[in-house]
């Protein structure tokens, strides 16, 4: 079933992609223009994905619901990091990232928090101070313009 859904998803995307390619104008002196290559790519994609819908192959074992929750939690932490990195600054955001991912991966909470508390400033010092990649110590929230 999952494979069929994947096939349908790819088919729809490829169809939109091919249709969109037709709208790009061909300029003078460029024989193929920006249209032809996407069409060459899009049409076999539609054929192959359609064949996956009709003749699916392979079984997919999705993890148990409880594991999926764990993955979603980790994903939320990763997305959260992209949102908090600039407002909070590198050390604070990274502390949260390391501690939370550590807990989700089954580490004892106090150990994971300790690891985050040690690693976040250590990584900041390593990258910003030693290796010279600029990373904000304090984020936009704390620094007035």
């Amino acid at each position: 079933m999952s494979i069929r859904i994947l096939g349908v998803a790819i088919f729809v995307i490829a169809a939109l992609y091919t249709w969109q390619a037709g709208t790009y104008a061909i300029t003078f002196g460029d024989v193929l223009g920006p249209t032809v290559f996407p069409v060459i790519v899009g049409i076999p994609t539609m054929i192959l994905s359609a064949s996956l819908v009709v003749f699916p192959a392979g079984q997919v074992d999705w993890p148990a619901p409880q594991r999926i929750w764990r993955q979603l939690a980790a994903l939320a932490v990763l997305v959260g990091y992209t949102m908090t990195l600039e407002p909070l600054g590198f050390p604070l955001a990274t502390f949260a990232l390391v501690a939370l991912i550590g807990i989700i991966l089954g580490g004892a909470p106090w150990r994971a928090v300790l690891l985050g508390a040690v690693m976040a400033p250590a990584l900041w010092a390593l990258f910003d101070q030693v290796l010279g990649l600029p990373l904000d110590f304090l984020g936009e929230l704390f620094v007035a313009d």
Binding site: A14, F37, V41, T94, A99, G106, L133, L135
Partner: protein
């Protein structure tokens, strides 16, 4: 003797203090990444690429660092295979078969030493092969025109999934998705923005580095969360690093045979180190398993796959450097870095940037010596570091991944793209869709389109130019042959699986 003088020139590049430092660092990091279960060469190199990028090393130094990591991973993978019965990375799976039984029988020191020396032999033979064959292949490829390159890329996509196992449709789809992603951005020839959804972030296209770090590193974290967290078994203690040299000497033929088989597997398109070690083990078992000792701790069963996977990883560099077409996941990732540094691998690389090619080759000879030292007398460091638990390791990897990608362009959008590709990579991996063709499509798509359009401009719109040269015709014939072979194998496996199910029921 031309090669020797070029190699000598390479050594003067490789012996600069910066390059030696990077080489040693790469060997150490690589061995560690290889030894840690859960992180393999693809993820390891993918995580490190943005960092080398951010430090602004020149292409030669970056390649030296990352190839040292790549080779180091191949050496390191065996340590946890032997001591924990958990392969440190995918190519080291075969080493668990005889390595762990040897360790259980109190032969851990010998097993580590045999596999270390076998890695050295395999990798060195591969680097010698690289010095000899890559220039020859590059010289032949210099006659390629735009239409021939287009044909070569088609061949690369048809074969990258390999001829073993999965449904070829999924492999092709993966490559096509990569090609679709490659067309995102402003078309360099006509200046038309394509598939950008009017977002200026996408005008430059999908940054391959960001995509592949997400595909390989972030999806690995999601994969890991699926598994049961068990306490790692206790490692078998290693008394001393001094092995019995006689035991190593006895496996010399297994090492040489394994290196040969692995090297050939590595050069072939679509095969990587995993297939190299698998084929080396199977071949060795067929020749030497007279008394049924394989799988019960036969030293030759440790030597052959280790020589095989190291020889294959070196061999895989040949098509990547001389044709610009990688044969395995890690070489695809290395190609991504070269392209991002504005170095186009391929036949012209040998002409235009001999310092890069020969500096790299020379440093690989040195890397093997450094790795032999790290992996024999200094093995104790790695057996201790290897026990770092996953819950502590992966968050740090995640943090380093974010730092690396963020430091390329200080863009939060890149971080979001990376997470997006992580989810995409996870879903595709669950569906048994290999990610390597996707990366390859994303990397080569632009060039493939440019060659097609150049060829069509030359012929003024006549499609027959695509099959006008003997080179392109033979490449298409090879493509059809490979596709037919993989379809045949897939159908056969499908039938077999069905009949097995019937007999079970």
């Amino acid at each position: 003797m031309e090669i020797l003088s070029l190699l000598g020139q390479g050594f003067t590049v490789a012996l600069s203090p910066l390059n030696i430092g990077l080489l040693l660092m790469g060997c150490f990091i690589g061995t560690l990444l290889g030894a840690l279960p859960g992180l393999g060469p693809v993820n390891g190199v993918a995580v490190l690429i943005p960092l080398t990028f951010a430090f602004g090393f020149d292409p030669t130094s970056s390649m030296i660092l990352l190839c040292a990591v790549y080779f180091g991973c191949m050496y390191g993978g065996r340590i946890s295979s032997i001591l924990l019965n958990i392969p440190g990375d995918e190519p080291a799976i075969m080493t668990t078969l005889d390595g762990y039984p040897m360790a259980v029988q109190g032969q851990a020191t010998n097993a580590l030493a045999i596999s270390g020396v076998a890695s050295f032999v395999g990798a060195t033979i591969a680097v010698i092969g690289l010095s000899l064959f890559a220039p020859v292949l590059a010289r032949a490829a210099i006659h390629f025109g735009p239409a021939d390159y287009f044909a070569l890329y088609i061949l690369a996509f048809a074969t990258i999934g390999g001829i073993a196992g999965v449904d070829p449709r999924k492999t092709l789809l993966s490559a096509l998705i990569g090609l679709m992603l490659a067309t995102v951005g402003i078309d360099p020839i006509s200046g038309v923005p394509r598939y950008t959804f009017d977002s200026f972030h996408l005008f430059d296209g999908v940054e391959p580095i960001v995509a592949l770090v997400g595909l390989f590193a972030i999806s690995e974290i999601l994969m890991l969360l699926e598994k049961e967290f068990k306490d790692r078994p206790k490692a078998i203690p290693v008394g001393s690093w001094l092995p019995q040299w006689g035991a190593i000497w006895k496996t010399r033929w297994a090492m040489l045979r394994g290196s040969g088989v692995g090297f050939v597997a590595g050069v072939l398109p679509g095969a990587g180190a995993s297939l190299g070690s698998f084929m080396a083990y199977v071949a060795e078992k067929q020749t030497s398993n007279k008394k049924g000792t394989f799988g019960k701790g036969d030293p030759r069963g440790v030597a052959a796959p280790e020589a095989g996977n190291n020889a294959a990883s070196g061999g895989a560099l040949i098509p990547m450097l001389s044709l610009g077409v990688p044969g395995s996941g890690t070489t695809a990732v290395l190609l991504a870095m070269l392209i991002s540094l504005n170095v186009q691998p391929g036949p012209l690389l040998f002409e235009r940037q001999p310092d890069l090619v020969w500096g790299l080759v020379a440093s690989l000879y040195m890397a093997n010596i450094a790795l032999l030292i790290l992996n024999l007398p200094m093995i104790g460091i790695f057996t201790r570091l290897m026990m770092t638990p996953t819950w502590a390791l992966m968050p740090i990897v995640a943090a380093v991944t974010f730092v690396g990608v963020y430091s390329i362009s200080n863009s939060i959008f890149d971080l979001e793209m990376m997470v997006f590709f992580g989810v995409l990579g996870y879903v595709l991996r669950k569906m048994d869709v290999s990610l390597v063709p996707l990366v390859l499509g994303l990397l080569l798509g632009g060039d493939m389109e440019r060659n097609l359009r150049r060829a069509m401009s030359i012929s003024d719109g006549d499609w027959s130019i695509l099959i006008a040269s003997p080179i392109s015709i033979s490449l298409y014939i090879l493509t059809v042959f490979f596709l037919a072979l993989s379809v045949w194998i897939a159908v056969r496996d499908h039938r077999q699986a069905k009949s097995e199910r019937l007999t079970e029921g």
